[in-house]
Symmetry: C2
Subunit: 369 residues, 2 copies
Amino acid sequence: MDGVRGLGGDATALRKLNTARVLRVLHRAGAVTLTELTKATELSRSAVEGAIEELLATGLVTEVEPVSGGPRPLGRPARRFRFRIDAGHVLGVHVSPHKVYAVLGDLHGEIVETRRVELTPDLPGPERLVRLRRTAHQCLQAAGITKDDLWAVAVGTPGLVGRTGKISLCSVLDGWTGLDLAGELGAHFPCPVLVENDANTAAMGERWRGVARDIDDVVCVLADHKLGVGVVIDGRVHRGSHGAAGELGALPNSPWAAANDFLVNSEHDPARVFADPRAAAEVADFVEALANGIATMALAVDPELVVLGGVIADCGPALLERLSARVPGLCLTPPRLVLSELVDDAVALGALRVALDEAEKRLFAISAS
Amino acid sequence: MDGVRGLGGDATALRKLNTARVLRVLHRAGAVTLTELTKATELSRSAVEGAIEELLATGLVTEVEPVSGGPRPLGRPARRFRFRIDAGHVLGVHVSPHKVYAVLGDLHGEIVETRRVELTPDLPGPERLVRLRRTAHQCLQAAGITKDDLWAVAVGTPGLVGRTGKISLCSVLDGWTGLDLAGELGAHFPCPVLVENDANTAAMGERWRGVARDIDDVVCVLADHKLGVGVVIDGRVHRGSHGAAGELGALPNSPWAAANDFLVNSEHDPARVFADPRAAAEVADFVEALANGIATMALAVDPELVVLGGVIADCGPALLERLSARVPGLCLTPPRLVLSELVDDAVALGALRVALDEAEKRLFAISAS
């Protein structure tokens, strides 16, 4: 008996671990029976039963109709349970010079509603903030939920973003430098609000639902109003100490500066100029500048993949071909180059993923034993 | 009873967790009593007793003499236990154009022996490999142990190192390009052998025992025969997909190229030239090139700290002062700059840390439950 008593002090911690393990299986699977859960978790049947009782009480799990006429025609049909993916929601928002785009997801990250509002680049900061909140609320309303149903909100924005979600520098949005965006939104949402640089968020979006799926070291070049660079290392966004990782444009005589000029001169429609044979010289300069910037990031970080996102993705395979011909000559170990397929959606989807990560942290949180 | 039986299936996994928890406390602490262990681990006394029995059987833990005349003058003195830091050893080695330097440590990372052999930069590769092995063995011999007592060996070397410890490119050591260094050494040591780029290893050394202690995002500029850059992100070496992270020197017209020329022209004694008033123009070019390279890494990775290591650290505070005056003008969020104090020892110490990490992984390994 002494051994059993010895285990007693840790029984609560163990029960929490068991519950988390059962929840993880339910979260991944559809409707499952106790027998299937016992097999998948490798826990005892009574431990699974205890976990299910706890999870039913939290509302995270629900019992579904048994399947009649199934493999147990003679006995009582087996009870089945499933994770309630609508037990909570998460919201990802992209705020940019041109728009606010809000994407609402369930706890599996499936999109249940979106809302997009066009804005002008010169909109004053306070007004942009109002539009951001309004668009978010309209998105919730359209889905028939309230902000109390949200488990997390994440926003992708241009600018240098500090660890607490304050924007220390933003050259493209009025009133954004110095704005405590996480604080401002946190006052309106009763859940955690996270703020992330748009290029970093785009990189997360590409890794989750785009061309960088399952790749751990990714650099994402995002051409929105300006060129930005998002860095994912070991599967996680690398912000750097001041939220400034990837800000190559700040270096005097940086190659990004010339590439940015091309974006501005093309009125943010580089694809149109790229296809214009009279603009061959400008296009050549643009390709050279972009190749140099990509090579610099490749030499500094050595990613497996570089994703070209935002409006430059519209230039299509011809851009990819020209960059692929140039980048290998500029660095030791050239990364794979690929065009974004998510293009304009990458930032909002990445923000949704960031919000979902926060929600899953809460979902699977177990107290330290 | 059903609840207790429900826990039964996980009792083995739980016992392993308990043993690992007790071992962690013993590994950190000196000699401790069962009561102290019970308090520190928050386990039941019988669980601690069970763990101690297991650990005594493995030889990792030993019982020490009880303290008489202590706080229990009337009763039997409490039994005390300690982790046997000499239950195994780890070896860190720096191989460079000029030397092999081997550092032997116990399982706490305390240095128990060192051995250093000077080499010439033009030594043929196979001969350098023989010297490396010989120096390692002499180091073990001097400490009175054999290679069977080693839990891990790690080597810091110039060149691009792949994940399996094969060197894909090395421009400074003969015969090193294409060498499977981990494989060659693995045939001689019955423990894991890890190989790491020297600048990365130096960064780990600085983080463990040098000026970058407890800092998670660090860039280490190592001037040995050439300039190298080591990158630590989130406390871990960032190698990149091809082991090429930080290889800025490969970019055409790279600032590193000019800084490298200064190293070569000074015959790898930059401090001598740096202090020579007749070399003011070369020194100014060197500072400008170095500042540009540091700013590029700062913009790409945004580290909290940049460590200047190897022979450039010998240039002293005057170099630091000139770089500190220049770097902030070249990047948005300038990192702190600091001179290495470990200088020539950083790579070997970092290799020792890498070997120790491998040994601790083995030490605390618990089977997946």
